[in-house]
Amino acid sequence: VTNPTLSPNELHELLGAYAIGAVVDPAERSQITRWLAEDDSARAELDGFVRATSLLHSTEGPSPAVWTAIESAISQPRNNVVPIEEGARRRVRRQLATRVAVAAVAIAAAIAVAVWGVPSDSRSLPTKPASDVQRAAEQAKKVEGAQRISLVSPTGGNDKVDLVVLPNGQGYVLSDRIARVANRTTRRLVAVTGGVTVLLAKLGTGVAVTAFQLPSGANQLAVVIGTANVPVVSAVLPTPTPTNGATPPGTPAPAPSTPTPVAPGITLPHITLPGISLPLLVLPPLGLL
């Protein structure tokens, strides 16, 4: 017992914690109980707090697209199931390799700028992927059954993004030519699957993420900028993407037969996974590194 006698102010302070079960000291609980029995306004306040906790609960849970994306990702060979000691060693090796790669890119960039100067067309943003992802993307282009897809501007502009997608859904951004828009540099590669738009990767400023995993049943790809859900470039996929075994939600939509841009001005279904890249989804399989 740490608080044998609580003042009225202390009782008031504790009411929120009491409402969510965070007061476990028996002495404190019994004093609060006595106080509530005597004080109508305190009881009313407690009722309000308890009602407020309803907002912490979700009646719907995550959308079906979340499981679809997970299911798609776990259809890849699992590359991290190794003894913990070996995993730790591998992390160290990866960190070292990353630092070496970052240093190499920085040196190469400095040399390039010194030799050729700054590119005159600074409005466009060619993606400069990390070397391991780039190597995996080069290999992907040669895989039988891989689809080359160009996302083009629905309004006929010059913006264009080229992708390659393997039969297992692993995809890579090969080139990214989208004009920079002031203050709207966050560009998101999204797929539409089952009427729901799913984030695949964040492109643009900072670390270039050029690998992604296409979810099962995706029938449209697009890049959106900032918080707008209007595609800057897009394409309808020619064939349904692969599906695999495990059950839960998410019914893939049928896909049209030829790649075409989405009609001008179309608004994509609500983006369900915006914002932050998921390293586990965007890393290529270990075998390709």
Partner: protein, 196 residues
């Protein structure tokens, strides 16, 4: 008073072990079963911390993929599978909440430097068609979210929350109280009546 207890019966714990072992063998159906059982709790923890449903869904995705890739990191001696998954969601959500806060500050600073903001893009269909939909939870401040989430979803007492976060107990009591007050004020009269 709603409390979330993590005390599970031995059979549930055994079921957890069986499912985790199956996941370690690469059984996607086992992961699906775990997802059905725990995705909602993981989602609620994440949504409380990050505010936006869409980003919370991303956390759910991340948590279950991390678990799939490293099921051996679950140690039943340290708690149930539910606690483990929700703790993963907590860590990931806090990272996101902090990086989002930094990003917003950076973007606001850049916008101020660049002058008047661009007009909304063509095709936006009112507020509801924007990617980010404001929810009541977004009205909470980050420290309030964190205190409430630890107490409500992981079952910590306010003293344990204070100890974990390294702040005075009085601060935690006030954060929880202020956060709940904000949520209460977001309830519409209709919602309040239905919930009564």
């Amino acid at each position: 008073v709603v409390t979330v207890s993590d005390k599970r019966s031995p059979s549930v714990v055994d079921d957890d072990d069986d499912l985790v072992n199956a996941v370690a063998r690469g059984d996607a159906e086992a992961l699906a079963a775990i997802y059905r059982e725990h995705s909602n709790g993981v989602f609620e923890m994440a949504r409380t911390l990050v505010g936006q449903r869409t980003i919370a869904e991303e956390v759910v995705q991340d948590v279950f993929l991390r678990f799939w890739n490293n099921p051996e990191r679950f140690d039943r001696r340290r708690g149930t599978l539910r606690t483990y998954l929700i703790t993963l969601a907590y860590g990931r959500s806090i990272d996101i909440a902090r990086s989002e806060t930094s990003r917003r500050r950076r973007e606001e600073r850049e916008a101020r430097l660049a002058g008047p903001a661009d007009a909304p893009s063509e095709g936006l269909d009112g507020a509801t068609s924007a990617i980010e939909i404001r929810t009541a939870l977004e009205g909470l401040r980050e420290p309030e979210r964190e205190a409430i989430a630890l107490a409500y979803f992981l079952g910590y007492s306010y003293r344990e929350v204070a100890s974990r976060l390294g702040v005075p107990e009085g601060t935690i009591k006030n954060r929880i109280r202020a956060g709940l007050s904000r949520l209460r004020d977001e309830l519409t009269p209709t919602e309040a009546a239905v919930l009564t």
